[in-house]
């Protein structure tokens, strides 16, 4: 039995379905991210758990108790909002103390300020704090009530890139330290992969895949997941017996099983899963093309390769140390590692 359970949640706004039956279980102390584009229903799910929205159908349980009908202020959920949620008329310390005061619990403000690394800034008002500091205070305020579940609604989206990375690692550290069951909503796939125990990728109000970050990345369950998480190539091809055909190139793969021969398919493959070699010019049945651009990304350099006999461009990652072997204009042969392909009917 999970610590937090969402069962069959449905919700629509003016005829538009935001959630079309969402099931999700979080184990105690687990951090699960809901990842998806805007409008996929992830925020709606979080707000239903928090009690700010009422689901049309389905239930929310904590420790097996149904809390679907419990009002937001009796749920003991710690919530961190996107931004600007600190009470502007209170100092950082007063913001943090607010929840415990309402509960008549002993003050722990100093300790919480230390926890989020702001021991010296308790007397500042929100408008005197940077965006990152404000979100740290918001986190401390949410944790202060010793919530049963921590809910994070895109808490990093309004921050600068550097601060964002720092704070997300910090959130993960604190969450692990406290063993806090956490639901984290974000549209940033890198963020979700970096901090989560499991990632749920959502689209159109449904979970497309729910698994550990590495499985979601390595074995995407659908074309949508593959394209939303990380960088992928989507190459147009045709299903043939025992594999796929891209132009004149035939690739034997089990990934195309179950798709009728002759059907148009998308072959989905990540740039780092493609090998590349200089092509001699003889037709040996390889997938060939020409390098049309290089972009340096630090440890790797991404080659854009236009496939022969068409205008499809495939992105291929090479260690930057080897990129000098493939200047723009080089004819290359591509090696698709068959095991890491996803083939879907168009």
């Amino acid at each position: 039995m999970g610590h937090l359970e969402l069962r069959g949640l449905r919700k629509s706004f003016g005829g538009q379905a935001a959630l079309a039956g969402l099931d999700l279980e979080l184990a105690r102390g687990e951090l699960v991210s809901l990842l998806g584009p805007s409008g996929c229903g992830k925020t709606t799910a979080l707000r239903i758990v928090a009690g700010f929205e009422t689901a049309d159908a389905g239930s929310v349980r904590v420790d097996g108790h149904d809390i679907t009908g419990v009002p937001a202020n009796k749920r003991d959920m710690g919530m961190v909002f996107q931004a600007y949620s600190l009470f502007p008329n209170m100092t950082a310390a007063q913001n943090i103390a607010f929840g415990r005061k309402l509960r008549k619990k002993a003050d722990r403000t100093g300790e919480l300020l230390e926890l989020v690394g702001l021991g010296h800034l308790g007397k500042r008002y929100p408008h005197q704090l940077s965006g990152g500091q404000q979100q740290r205070v918001a986190l401390a305020r949410a944790l202060a009530i010793e919530p049963r579940v921590l809910l994070l609604d895109e808490p990093l989206s309004a921050l600068d890139a550097k601060v964002r990375v720092n704070l997300r690692d910090e959130i993960r550290r604190i969450q692990t330290e406290l063993g806090m069951t956490t639901l984290f909503v974000t549209h940033d796939q890198e963020e979700a992969l970096a901090v989560s125990d499991r990632v749920g990728v959502m689209s159109h109000g449904r979970l497309e895949q729910l698994d550990t970050p590495s499985v979601v990345y390595r074995q995407p369950a659908s074309a949508f997941v593959a394209q939303f998480v990380g960088v992928t190539n989507t190459v147009l091809g045709t299903a043939v017996a025992g594999g796929v055909r891209i132009g004149a190139f035939r690739l034997a793969t089990a990934a195309a099983e179950g798709i009728a021969d002759g059907a148009d398919v998308h072959v989905i493959v990540r740039p780092e899963d493609i090998g590349v070699a200089q092509h001699s010019g003889q037709d040996n049945g390889a997938l060939v093309g020409t390098v049309v651009a290089q972009s340096f990304l630090g440890p790797v350099t991404r080659l854009s390769v236009r496939l022969a006999g068409g205008d499809q461009v495939v992105r291929v990652d090479q260690p930057s140390s080897r990129a000098g072997d493939f200047p723009v204009g080089t004819a290359v042969a591509l090696d698709l590692a068959a095991a890491r392909l996803l083939v879907v009917a168009v």
Binding site: G51, F52, F87
Partner: protein, 296 residues
């Protein structure tokens, strides 16, 4: 007005003549100088001049005695009372409007109607109340004929201070809506939700967050309302034709000739007094406004 002007500092190439950049603002400054600064200076300086242009404190001194002092006290009383009524009632109406959809019809109608009554009012408002609770007004007649109540049993109150209070409130409430509605819109829904997730209810929210956040805006708006009522002339002029109970009407008297010899500049001194009161109210208003702006 915007002939080619070159700014040597930026090396902007303008072939031919080179005019200094400030030339463009000359017409504006000249106009404001003549029609705003000059008349204002005339009042402020004239307040300290006698009939021959010599310096005197007599005009200003006259404000501290007799009818003038009474007029100031009455003006302040009327303005403060209607500002308070207007602020409280206007805040209530603002809340009722803000709780609805931002593009809904109630809001549109209230905002447009408020603009009319707050800024356009003047003479038409006086006639609106004559038609309603004047001697022959609709409400007066209905009360007299159906209920046997005589609204004017205790005198012609509509044409005295109580009447002014009623009519002023009628334009103060809309003005409050205009200045307070944006403040209410500035309350973020996250604050309410944060209070709820921390275990508070609606009362907790208003007591600890909504109320304190709005307080500077509320007080600032009330000061603006005070200044507005204090400056108002048209409604009072149309309603009160006998006597000059408040300062603007005394200025009317000074301008239209009810002046005693040796008091030619009393009108200017009264004007100076009004400017001082309004400036104090508006200065405090600006301070509070700044405080609220920081919190948004």
């Amino acid at each position: 007005m915007v002939a080619p002007v070159a700014n040597p500092a930026r090396g902007d190439a303008a072939p031919g003549r080179r005019w200094p950049a400030w030339l463009v603002v000359v017409p504006f400054l000249a106009y404001v100088g003549v029609f705003l600064v000059y008349p204002t200076a005339l009042v402020l300086i004239g307040a300290f001049q006698d009939a021959n242009g010599g310096f005197t404190l007599d005009n200003v001194g006259a404000l501290t005695r007799g009818v003038h002092l009474q007029a100031f006290l009455r003006s302040v009383e009327l303005s403060a009372l209607t500002a308070l009524l207007g602020a409280v009632l206007g805040a209530l109406l603002s809340w009722a409007v803000a709780a609805g959809r931002p593009d809904g019809l109630p809001r549109r109608v209230v905002v447009a109607g408020s603009g009319v009554l707050a800024q356009f009012g003047g003479v038409p408002l006086a006639f609106a109340f004559l038609a309603t609770v004047g001697f022959q007004g609709l409400v007066t007649q209905v009360l007299r004929e159906r209920f046997g109540v005589d609204l004017f049993a205790h005198g012609a109150w509509l044409f005295e201070l109580p009447g002014l209070t009623l009519v002023y409130t009628f334009f103060q409430v809309p003005l409050m809506v205009i200045v307070f509605l944006p403040a209410l819109d500035g309350l973020r829904p996250q604050w309410r939700e944060a209070v709820a997730s921390l275990g508070g209810n609606s009362w907790t929210y208003w007591r600890h967050v909504g109320g304190p956040v709005l307080l500077p805006a509320f007080l600032g708006a009330a000061l603006l309302l005070f200044a507005n009522a204090f400056s108002a002339y048209a409604t009072a002029a149309a309603l009160v034709s006998q006597g000059s109970p408040i300062v603007p009407l005394q200025i009317r008297g000074a301008l239209t000739g009810e002046v005693l010899l040796g008091q030619e500049n009393t009108g200017k001194a009264l004007g100076l007094g009004m400017v001082v009161v309004v400036a104090v109210a508006m200065g405090l208003h600006a301070l509070l406004q700044r405080r609220f702006a920081r919190w948004r």
